[in-house]
Symmetry: C2
Subunit: 428 residues, 2 copies
Amino acid sequence: MTKPLTLGLAGLGTVGVGVVKLLQQNADLYAARTGRRVELRAVTARSKDKDRGVDLSGYDWEDDAVSLAKRDDIDVFVEVMGGSEGAAKDATLAALASGKDVVSANKALLALHGQQIAQMADDAGRSIRYEAAVAGGIPVIKSLAEGLAGNRMTRVMGVMNGTCNYILTRMESAGLSYDEVFAEADQLGYLEADPTLDVGGIDAGHKLALLVALAFGTQVDFDGVELEGIQQITARDIHHAADLGYRIKLLGVAQMTDAGLEQRMSPCLVPAASPLGQLEGGTNMCVLEGDAVQQVVLRGPGAGEGPTASAVLGDILDLARGIRIPAFGVPAAQLKAAPSVKSAVAAPYYLRLELRDEPGALARMAQVLAEHGISIDRMRQREHSESPATVLIVTHAVQRSALDAALADLPQTGVLGDTPLAIRIEKV
Amino acid sequence: MTKPLTLGLAGLGTVGVGVVKLLQQNADLYAARTGRRVELRAVTARSKDKDRGVDLSGYDWEDDAVSLAKRDDIDVFVEVMGGSEGAAKDATLAALASGKDVVSANKALLALHGQQIAQMADDAGRSIRYEAAVAGGIPVIKSLAEGLAGNRMTRVMGVMNGTCNYILTRMESAGLSYDEVFAEADQLGYLEADPTLDVGGIDAGHKLALLVALAFGTQVDFDGVELEGIQQITARDIHHAADLGYRIKLLGVAQMTDAGLEQRMSPCLVPAASPLGQLEGGTNMCVLEGDAVQQVVLRGPGAGEGPTASAVLGDILDLARGIRIPAFGVPAAQLKAAPSVKSAVAAPYYLRLELRDEPGALARMAQVLAEHGISIDRMRQREHSESPATVLIVTHAVQRSALDAALADLPQTGVLGDTPLAIRIEKV
């Protein structure tokens, strides 16, 4: 049997503890699968003495992640601390510089510094692996980088923030407002310290940026992700969407267009009967489309101790088996810097307009849309006793730029009672 | 750049032609992803002169698959001919014996001779890869063998025969009988030359046997798969199941129990709202459950030129990148010969009984079930004008052996108008 693969683990939160448990309970299985023992040598975390419900006595303790990353007796530095700067970044770079492979669950770090880290790994002849950074237990990085490597990818989509999906499905099922469900999620501990990371789409945007680099062979470009959160979605929108046969999801969509790379993380309407539309609660889903495979859909738990540790172990066992490929599928130096374009692909939109209840209001609104070449597929005005009245419109496919211009002109008509809301209807 | 990876391709049907097309259209992409050219050198098929809509002039022609497999100028033998014996088997063994890696789409060959082939590959220090043999374009072999390698798998399920799923969903949507849809599928060319391979569950059983070996580290044991086809399912069963909130699928289920390994490929009722229940037409789905990841669901096209070629290319590109693992996750010599058990896990069942319309019939039937410890969860007798009358029962969880004993005793009551049908209700 080959010599053991040795690990240093930085971070003993939910994921780190899950990794320790799996290493302890499945050790023989891993030896059978990789032909060598996989052994944890040393750990670090913020607090040494906290009881984490797992026996850490067999491992050395390091006070500092960088020291851990540089230890001579580890082959792989496992980073599950989180944070895009500071210790996580320093330790990751130190590990690569000192000839270790790195397994990371840190989407923010990779989304913001992925190009630098991938290049450094290539230069050092080491690997940086990050299955756990995207969509929890779903083996989407492996599917995209390896399983579907025969494809020129055409589009990648994903519902990858369980908190947002929980909020949206809970608003629908319980008929509660965004603020009410947000407060509930906060009490349940579902929210990040800065909830904007979740509800603003930033966390999911980080994940999308990583999938995109892999799918299209481009430099990780989180700044190129068009971000829109779910804060503006009302229970009425969810209800209206359902009436039209849709559900609202915080959906990441990326595709390469003639004009450049389009990456969006925003609320979208998707058909209620589609796999994406049927997704409930914290479950994640990734949709991968390629020239050969057509469409593959992967679904699974997006977070949690077991699922995320499963992804970390998948990466570790690959390294134990000697499986190494560049971080984003091709050498970092070959990743292209694609120009980013905002919503380049035309799509139908759902519009919610509040119109003052006065003669000619509808006509003036419709006129503005027409002036911008926006044609109406369906329109509904509900019975109402109040002014303004809600008018719901589904447009035919339109460029986002034309839509934005129309939305900018609408207030000048004087017929709006509130700011209009536009949500893209994604073809899935 | 490393020297090219060279291929010999046996079989120029749908899949083979798909592979040639991808190799031609995505050649530069593959070179970027693997760091080397991937080059087809020689091909073979039944007929040399047939126009296949693809330019084969750049490749040598071999009349015989074994000769192709032994050529000195190929690194990888790609077998997409099919057939569990004869040329496909001879050529696969010849390729391994002469030091080639093999990429195969041949589920029957591997289901029946997987242990021998895996052992031979290990002995030769070569790889046998078979992503395309199971669930078409879905990267399920890779997900199970690598992505989820950190898990002790607990259950594996799959809808993996598009023809059966087409027949069942078409019976439901069009309200047609099994025979009518079977004839339709035949006309559309959806059926194998021997349709029992599809509708008898054999083809899907082959695929399940491969997933099981990978998931549980056991020797491939197709004979241990409990097989039941869809021929007995009537449009009424589908309708009744829908009334109860279920859909009927030809579902493969495998789990390791204390008594041994349970592998079934049989019609099952699954909740209509579950991902399996929502699956339509020829799409395949695999459900992978492990101690850490909980549940991952993979969905995609189960057949067709592009999707299957995508799977073949995934394997080829892995070899080009130097990714090699044993065929079934651990060395063939370590695969366990697990005892096979029939339906060891208790489950509720859907029963369709035709009872003569006479006093006491229901009581006598219920008495027999009670004698075998089978308790009734729900029962429905439809309004009827004919005798026998259809009685539908959903039982509480029961061992299949007890159910079979009850079904064997029922005819003696003299109240049955027809052979009863029992379909398992699988918890998904």
